[in-house]
Symmetry: C2
Subunit: 207 residues, 2 copies
Amino acid sequence: MGDLTLYAMPSSGNSYKVQLLLALLGRACTQIRCEHLSDALAQAKAAGALPLGKVPALHLPDGTILSESGAILWYLAQQTPFLPQDPLAQAKILGWMFFEQNRMEAVIAVRASLRCYPDRAADATPERLAALLAEGHALLAIVEAHLTGGRTWLVGDSATVADIAIYGYTHSSGARGGFDMTRFPALQGWCARVAGLPGYIPLQAPA
Amino acid sequence: MGDLTLYAMPSSGNSYKVQLLLALLGRACTQIRCEHLSDALAQAKAAGALPLGKVPALHLPDGTILSESGAILWYLAQQTPFLPQDPLAQAKILGWMFFEQNRMEAVIAVRASLRCYPDRAADATPERLAALLAEGHALLAIVEAHLTGGRTWLVGDSATVADIAIYGYTHSSGARGGFDMTRFPALQGWCARVAGLPGYIPLQAPA
């Protein structure tokens, strides 16, 4: 396997998902830091390094560029325990990954960005923050209900890319998003299990 | 293979994606119609038939419920030409599917729903419609750029679940969303190719 290059935003949950899987796999990767509003991000876009206009993007040795965190996780996890081959398990895993990208990110990550990035402060109206708080608690409750009753991982008996995808923003939704995580004890236990995986690395703080 | 049951909203692009793949595969499936705001939708939610709170949901003969259109497509397409086994092809396919669910749906489908569902009219302010129009054109331009230059399908040499996922809302984005599709000739040609696939069925009109 040749050298991989990851364009990543250090403070972003989507980039972190890929960084976390690489760390858990012990896999080397050159990383290009493209922080929110940075010159490096603008330069990467202008150079065509981000075909869909966003990080993360993974550049393969043959020049192929993979976009979208979920797709990159799927590629890197092939032939590892993080991606079972069973079709039904794969569909269940993708169900959580699409749920996260279609519904959770637009609420959990957006509320965190409104609170943490100064350039978003003008959009952080009390009404919007209140609506996102209620929506986020409802979404976290769906994951909590799934984990309640003895499930250790989201799908099957070991950690998969579904766990990594949901963990990316969920684990910081209390500190960054202002969500009340004490309501979700099963989620908190699951977060601790992810953080205990060999090779685990934490999310970087916003710049 | 036993009987499948699909809970679907006839006027929704996400439900249509699953219905279209079933038709292209010639696969039988019992369908429960859960139209927007219908009693049937409320009853399905109350009965626990929609664990993530939304249609489509596919009920398998063993009682397993699969949620999220992309995950259902992935399950149904296994061992068919619509889902290649090559890991890199799979990652490229998922890249388009996550792009659609994370970025396109929130703009293309939302603008269409604001225009087509009377209960959404109060949210359809001129400012919001104008912002969604500009964002949607930018997103459609990304797909247009990918298809320009001789690509017949989004990934590889035949139709895959990536094409079905992007087609679900894109093909009606002119009529329902008010987007100017004459700007995107490659997309229009690709839409015609999807509509020409053997077994194709059209999207139902909003009720």
